[in-house]
């Protein structure tokens, strides 16, 4: 495997999440000279390589749980990094973004893994938004100036997601103050869509913050 794991911890609580370099996978999977992610079989091969990588990544529940009271299987956050991918066509966006999300959405998902996407700037953004729209999915994407929510979502979902992203975490006692009386159902809905983390103690965490927490914990045991 040629993925580029980023496991550095800055020690200030802003460590980077574990990343998978999609361009490196393209190079190894199809020997494309230009890091061009095109054609359906290529996208499928890259998605399968990512899933294989994820299957090998099993976080320790005791060491990575972001909330002490949590008893559910520990979450893991993976950043799918398109930074070095030049061309991303719709077939590949469908496989590497939409189908990957779908695989980890349902109750039969192979792991409790959340996804962030990086470098979905204007060059890739259009393809990603189109495939998300087609499947009714949303995703958390770094479009160059921080994480954004892409794909179909209601205005209430957007508002709740933006608030959570700004606060990073919202504890059970702060929910109503931060989001009003519908805060809890909204965050639960975002969590069901795998766009936020709902903890066992009634609090919520933004995926970007969760990624930093998990990485800090992983860095601490290295």
């Amino acid at each position: 495997m040629t993925e580029r794991p980023e496991r550095s911890c800055r020690g200030d609580g802003s460590a980077k999440p574990v990343a998978i370099d999609v361009a490196a996978i393209v190079t190894s999977a199809v020997a494309s000279r230009g890091h061009n992610l095109v054609t359906r079989p290529t996208g499928q091969a890259v998605r399968e390589a990512i899933e294989q990588r994820l299957a090998q990544t099993t976080p320790s529940p005791a060491r990575t749980a972001p909330f002490p009271a949590q008893t559910a299987p520990s979450p893991h956050v993976m950043l799918i990094d398109f930074t070095r991918v030049r061309i991303l066509d719709f077939s590949c966006a469908d496989e590497v973004v939409a189908k990957l999300l779908l695989r980890f959405q349902g109750p039969d998902r192979p792991g409790n893994i959340f996804f962030l996407f990086r470098a979905v700037d204007e060059m890739h953004r259009h393809a990603v938004e189109e495939v998300l729209e087609r499947h009714g999915l949303a995703a958390v994407c770094d479009v160059g100036d921080g994480f954004q929510l892409l794909g179909p979502a209601t205005p209430e979902e957007h508002r709740a997601w933006n608030t959570l992203e700004r606060c990073e975490r919202i504890g059970p006692h702060d929910l109503a103050g931060a989001l009003g009386e519908f805060g809890e159902p909204l965050l639960r809905r975002l969590a069901r869509r795998r766009l936020a983390y709902w903890s066992g103690n009634g609090g919520a965490a933004a995926l970007s913050a969760l990624a930093r927490t998990l990485q800090t914990n992983q860095g601490g045991r290295q």
């Binding site: 199809v30 230009g34 061009n36 095109v38 054609t39 066509d89 077939s91 495939v131 087609r134």
Partner: protein, 295 residues
């Protein structure tokens, strides 16, 4: 031997007549007489190849005569037509001295597409030349080369996934001084596979009932994004090509069976659907991207 006269000018507007004549006969040998040819575009070249391949498939020996000289010979050479024709026609056409195409208006020489590796090869190969033509000549923004590459990828994948047979792609810049007063980029994609009606039939014909035919199949793919795959993620390619070409105020048309469907811009008024054309067994996709003119 049956002789099919090729007109002096051959492009997407008159290839139907040539194709009808070429495919009308049986197993009799056919000569495609293109000695009067003076001008041809990518669609014209790919149509000649398709016509030759269909004639050969009928059991006939297909031959091709090209002009003895003139600009068109050099152009055909730069586009790699002799190499492609040698794979189709019984006697390989005469080759002029090969002229490097890097400095010309050729964006993509005639390239055979049969596998996904071919699609990668096409996308990898056009990057530098596409950037130059799109930004300097058509005055598109720098990011257009990415969008153009996506279009190219999707049209080529259409051959691999739906034609179930080989095809070709080619692209060339032209100065349409008289026709439009602008530079254009013409992209032609052709195959002699099974066409849209047959490709979609198993999955969709039943629910369309008596209305099922070439027009309905093209409308299903072009307007509704239907494919032969039940996967909801499929069928985005043509839809996205239409959207992007419309943003650039371009023309996109698909010809398959006896029908053609098109998104026509204001500079090229034409009916959105035409039926009753001579039968074409595969599919032809024609895209014309005009030079950008600020309002």
């Amino acid at each position: 031997m049956r002789v099919v006269e090729i007109p002096s000018s051959l492009d997407y507007r008159n290839v139907d007549a040539v194709f009808a004549e070429a495919t009308a006969g049986g197993a009799e040998p056919v000569l495609f007489d293109a000695r009067r040819l003076r001008w041809i575009d990518p669609n014209g070249m790919l149509s000649l190849l398709c016509a030759g391949q269909v004639a050969s498939a009928n059991g006939a020996a297909a031959r091709l005569s090209l002009p003895a000289g003139g600009d068109v010979v050099g152009y055909l050479d730069r586009m790699g037509f002799p190499d492609a024709a040698a794979q189709v026609f019984h006697a390989s056409p005469r080759r002029a001295g090969r002229t490097p195409s890097r400095a010309s208006d050729v964006l993509l020489e005639i390239t055979s597409v049969a596998t996904n590796s071919d699609v990668h090869e096409v996308v990898d190969r056009v990057q530098s030349r596409a950037g130059a033509i799109l930004s300097r000549t058509l005055h598109y923004p720098a990011a257009a080369v990415v969008q153009f590459s996506v279009i190219l990828s999707e049209v080529c994948q259409n051959i691999v996934e739906h034609a179930e047979g080989p095809g070709w792609v080619a692209a060339q810049r032209y100065n349409w001084t008289r026709r439009l007063g602008r530079q254009v980029l013409v992209i032609g994609v052709s195959d002699v596979g099974r066409g849209f009606r047959e490709s979609l039939a198993e999955e969709h014909a039943e629910r369309f009932g008596d209305r099922w035919g070439d027009v309905t199949a093209l409308e299903a793919a072009f307007l509704m994004g239907l494919t032969r795959f039940p996967d909801t993620g499929r069928g985005q390619g043509i839809q996205q090509i239409r959207k992007q070409v419309a943003r650039w105020q371009g023309l996109v048309s698909i010809r398959s069976g006896t029908a053609r469907i098109a998104d026509s811009p204001a500079w090229h008024p034409s009916p959105p659907v035409v039926d009753g054309l001579p039968g074409f067994p595969g599919a032809q996709i024609n895209i014309v991207l005009p030079e950008r003119i600020d309002d």
